[in-house]
């Protein structure tokens, strides 16, 4: 057996195992790590197939940009708080497994039984080397034959960026003052928090968080709220705090 074949089987094994890890892993971050591994191995198969440029683009775009974005969102968003689309019900799981196996059998049969051989193109390894390599050959195909598609794709990217910005904009229905709180996204992920203060002791001059006993802390898992003090510019009354001598808690729930 040649070294290339050994390399292929190694890469393919890691690829399939890590892909399975994406589905099986309990935490979404572990899924993302397995997906990184899987994508890097797919890039390696691209190199084996003589597509070096595509391999690097795969690493830069998928692992370097898309998955970093996914991790970014994972840190911003508390996954448990995402709306439930009622996917992953038991019946869906079973039918998913069965459908997947059937589809795999069908595709496997199609691959082994296929008899049509497509027309061979002119990009033999010698021809590719003659124009300077894979990158140059790909550039010729992109800019000569597929120029229109290239422009359309760049348009799609632009539209997507604009769409994403519009989607992630803060809600416009609230006033400018109130938007201050919602304009920034809070860190949704509960990593590293002990909990959110339930009721804060009203000892004046003392940090409420530091004075809270563990019993005052609500565990992070339930419903969450942003605790906000008022907009600093909104303080117009004079001596509001001095006029309230009772030990009223600053924030109640």
């Amino acid at each position: 057996m040649e070294w290339a074949s050994v390399a292929f089987y190694l890469i393919a094994t890691v690829c399939v195992l890590s892909a399975a890890g994406v589905v099986i892993a309990r935490s979404a971050v572990h899924s993302a790590i397995f997906l990184i591994l899987c994508f890097l191995n797919i890039a390696a198969t691209f190199v084996m197939l003589g597509a070096e440029f595509l391999a690097v683009v795969q690493v830069i775009v998928y692992t370097g940009a898309i998955l970093v974005l996914v991790l970014f969102v994972l840190m911003l968003v508390d996954e448990d708080q995402l709306p439930d689309f009622h996917t992953g019900q038991p019946i869906q799981r079973i039918s998913g497994l069965i459908l997947g196996l059937i589809l795999l059998l069908e595709i496997g049969a199609a691959i082994t039984a296929r008899s049509i051989q497509g027309a061979t193109g002119g990009a033999t390894p010698e021809n590719v080397a003659a124009v300077g390599g894979n990158t140059q050959a790909l550039g010729r195909v992109l800019y000569d034959d597929n120029l229109l598609a290239f422009i359309v794709v760049s348009l799609v990217l632009t539209v997507a960026v604009i769409g994403a910005i519009v989607l992630a904009l803060p809600d416009r229905r609230v006033g400018i003052n109130q938007r201050r709180g919602t304009g920034t996204i809070n860190l949704g992920h509960p990593v590293g928090t002990d909990g959110i203060p339930l009721a804060l002791p009203a000892v004046r001059g003392e940090s409420p968080i530091a004075a809270a006993t563990p019993g005052d802390l609500r565990p992070v898992a339930g419903e969450r709220q942003i605790i906000m003090v008022r907009d600093p510019d909104a303080y117009t009354e004079v001596g509001q705090h001095d006029a309230a001598p009772d030990n009223r808690p600053l924030i109640k729930r």
Partner: protein, 102 residues
């Protein structure tokens, strides 16, 4: 060059695609489902590049490049939707916080 031929790469691609599809059907977590969709697009890319290699044609690679670009666009929009959804799910109702103050 290789002992392994087109079929090997196609099988690898098929297995990855099926795993991704199962992930979409099985998992509940929205972000994991999103990642599985990305896995499926990658599997398709792999088969395109494998065909390009087998048929001595660069067109398959150009296709895969377009798919990567569109997938990037899809990822951007998808993640923005997830952020928007999470914002709806939180009670970021400033009025409520105001009323809690007194």
């Amino acid at each position: 060059m290789l002992d392994v031929g087109l079929d090997h790469f196609l099988f690898l691609s098929a297995i990855l695609f099926i795993i991704g599809m199962m992930g979409v059907l099985i998992r509940r977590n929205l972000i994991v489902i999103f990642m599985c969709v990305e896995l499926m697009t990658n599997a398709v890319n792999l088969s395109l590049v494998a065909f390009a290699w087998n048929l001595n044609s660069i067109d398959g690679q150009a296709f895969a490049l377009f798919i990567i670009a569109v997938a990037a666009a899809e990822a951007v929009v998808g993640l923005a939707i997830i952020i928007a959804l999470s914002r709806r799910a939180h009670t970021i109702n400033v009025d409520e916080v105001r009323t809690l103050r007194n």
